[in-house]
Symmetry: C2
Subunit: 542 residues, 2 copies
Amino acid sequence: MVASLRLPSLTSLLFPATTRYPAALRRSLCLRNRPASGFATAPSGTASPETKSEVGRLPRSDQAVTPRSQDFNAWYLDVIASAELADYGPVRGTMVIRPYGYAIWEAIQDYLNVKFKETGHSNMYFPQFIPYSFIEKEASHVEGFSPELALVTVGGGNELEEKLVVRPTSETIVNHMFTQWIHSYRDLPLMINQWANVTRWEMRTKPFIRTLEFLWQEGHTAHATPEEAEKEAKQMIEIYTRFAFEETAIPVIVGRKSKMETFAGADTTYTIEAMMGDRKALQAGTSHNLGQNFSRAFGTQFQDENGERQHVWQTSWAVSTRFVGGIIMTHGDDTGLMLPPKIAPIQVVIVPIWKKDSEKTEVLNAASSVKEVLQTAGVRVKLDDTTERTAGWKFNFWEMKGVPIRIEIGPRDVSNNSVVVSRRDIPGKAGKVFGISMEPSTLVAYVKEKLDEIQSSLLEKAISFRDSNIVDVNSYEELKAAISSGKWARGPWSASDSDEQRVKEETGATIRCFPFEQTLGTKTCLMTGNPAEEVAIFAKSY
Amino acid sequence: MVASLRLPSLTSLLFPATTRYPAALRRSLCLRNRPASGFATAPSGTASPETKSEVGRLPRSDQAVTPRSQDFNAWYLDVIASAELADYGPVRGTMVIRPYGYAIWEAIQDYLNVKFKETGHSNMYFPQFIPYSFIEKEASHVEGFSPELALVTVGGGNELEEKLVVRPTSETIVNHMFTQWIHSYRDLPLMINQWANVTRWEMRTKPFIRTLEFLWQEGHTAHATPEEAEKEAKQMIEIYTRFAFEETAIPVIVGRKSKMETFAGADTTYTIEAMMGDRKALQAGTSHNLGQNFSRAFGTQFQDENGERQHVWQTSWAVSTRFVGGIIMTHGDDTGLMLPPKIAPIQVVIVPIWKKDSEKTEVLNAASSVKEVLQTAGVRVKLDDTTERTAGWKFNFWEMKGVPIRIEIGPRDVSNNSVVVSRRDIPGKAGKVFGISMEPSTLVAYVKEKLDEIQSSLLEKAISFRDSNIVDVNSYEELKAAISSGKWARGPWSASDSDEQRVKEETGATIRCFPFEQTLGTKTCLMTGNPAEEVAIFAKSY
């Protein structure tokens, strides 16, 4: 069986060796095109020797990625392969996060972990195996998650009496434990977070965006009053929003999900929605006000100040490795990845250039001391001093990897005591400045200023792209026109779930959110003509 | 089925409500006493209301833990429950790591993560689902791990064609991916690490020490030569050794495993062995020289400088949440946990004391400013200013939690501009010093000095305990006598695997390691009388 799934033969049938897609991409295309019935159990087997030299390999410097405008999806997969962000795991739909991709995730973790602790949350860890019966306790939860479950049925060689769910999310087991820790109002609020892997048996997968297993943080809190829970749910979506804007330069739109799009088990779901380079929406983080849905299902109660037993009010909130995909698809261009400086594992790459051996030592010495100076100043810097690649190859490679600033140092620079600084976000000569002094305080100040400028510039560019692709609509016809032109539609909405379903079926777009930021004035529902209190944003999404 | 496994009824049968064991402990004892056949699938169901107030609750200040000398195992479980380190998960053998226990794990992560990066390793992430066929490729690996596997057989509602193993360790999937990333000697060494959860279907479980699922880091490296792999394996066990001594004050003995005790798939396993308070050995970390066992099984090859294809030489190494158990069982005493300052989530707790309301403000103000001063100086400090508990209750509680230093501030201290400092490791008056000035530089210097002293003192105490419990033996009779008196036996060994097996069967002890530190002089095997090159250490172990 494994033999029949060996990918090399399949791939070579579909993609002759002359196409310039990296093998990882071809493989993905194959996988995505296989019928769903074949998806469930498809470890790919080990690659045969002849494909090894292609899969997940660095691009040669002359091997460009698919242009973004030509095929956004192919571009995305090429960037992931060429920038060495991730690779496919042997089991269908799983992903190996490679060091460069993982370093972006670590930057996300570092920022959020501090914010979570500042706002009073403690990290802890819950087991990933959940008794199947737990999932069934909250009615809408089981309805939402049961099609996506991975089940452990054998342990230590024996068939298990009760099958175990590999956690798709932890509300059930969290509530099971909360019943043991919460007794009195003095035990509240209880505010925890865990960094963990979760499993959802998705049929259509895409690296970072939707994989069988992914990494995330999930916060879970319990409160004595609905007001506190609501405040907490809003506080956390605000933290996500600030993170998206300030660290990743992604101008998300923050708002409330429609009833249909609310998390399975929540009263209200808040979301941050990001516009990707292909103008599809990405749900980049959510915060749920769970009300008493889980506490009633699990009996999570406390004694209030009057001695009465009450069910707690809860929230949960999560951000995942999907965010890495959002960063790629927001800022990347035809040259590859483009990383906002604050989240970039490498902010500055130094490329020393020499022709004659006599020049080599002084150039490398200068490059090392520039590296030292920047590192001491807290800049994340890499000196690429390998001799196996040309400077040109290195330029392309680090541009592909999205490093915000490149510093070039050649013999003439050394004699002038200066360097050349190139910005990744401004291609060619326009982004290149000669003669920046090597004098430490000048250089550090210049580099830090440029990093800040790049950070701001990426955000501004993304905001203007976002805003020029949202159309205000006042009728269903206008909505359809906006969606079919690839844009987002924003319009007043007070129609029914079935109207919402109709929009989805007819246009492929869903309500992404009712944004917190609303326009003033009276509104008329674009679908029904009835009064509407809010505008909603419609878009096709990942 | 779930109903029949409800623990409350079982527990109440075995432990009448008047025993003073916390419920968590009772529950554990029940689970351990249940026949193995009942272990495989025993989610406990949700606790019924009447037990909720006991499970995993804080001890009352008058509720002491079982004395360590009376029942070490009961003491251990009591400490875990009372110090709120962990709780049982709903599935048999699983553990919830509570915030205080998780903070110790975070301290372990913070230290090791830096060391791994300093030595050139990058973090990344591999999927946890491994095709079953992978596990079968390396003969001794499958033999070692197959009895312990958890298998996913259903995904997204469908029976899978090939069952998936929930990773017990990642050598197989790592090699599968390495074949795609390694081509030439230029790709070597490849040195990575991942922080992850792993699953082993253990029959006898114990919180932190052996659980169905646990957290760990697993490093994996590939090298061009056996010498490099050997050097790496030794480097990593040295990092673990230093960590154990310097951070956790655990004087581990570092050495090589016997052939019988070597990791399933390794040529050589290096280990750090720690002596717990009951004098049982705990394997606290291992580093494996895998030779070419996995690279041959998976075809992980590279082209060397002469253009020849060679199999890579590999290592893997791991430390897990088990280390937290080792810290508890090395330093804890009848009063509860005792944490080495370097690894303690809270190094100093401040307890303000007042009787009259008129005193309250000035005492709390002084306590706050002391907290501020210490925090600014980088000390991890907590001010326990709740009014719901007495000072005496707080003393007991934070001693139970193992906080190294307590600072008391009462009205008289405020007027003297001084504080009282108590050391957790020196009970009663002997560890209590009055009149330490509140003047910031004096106080900070004093506290830091005391933290250092406590750190050293814990290590010295543990070394002297260890050394007084290792007996040098020269015959099997002496070995048996040492083991039956509860000690470790150290003696020359060059006997066969079957002799080693015989020792295990007859004494319950195994060879923990051939220590790196060997005695000089000619040696005669304690079992056979033949010449021996090394001494081995025998002990009963966890």
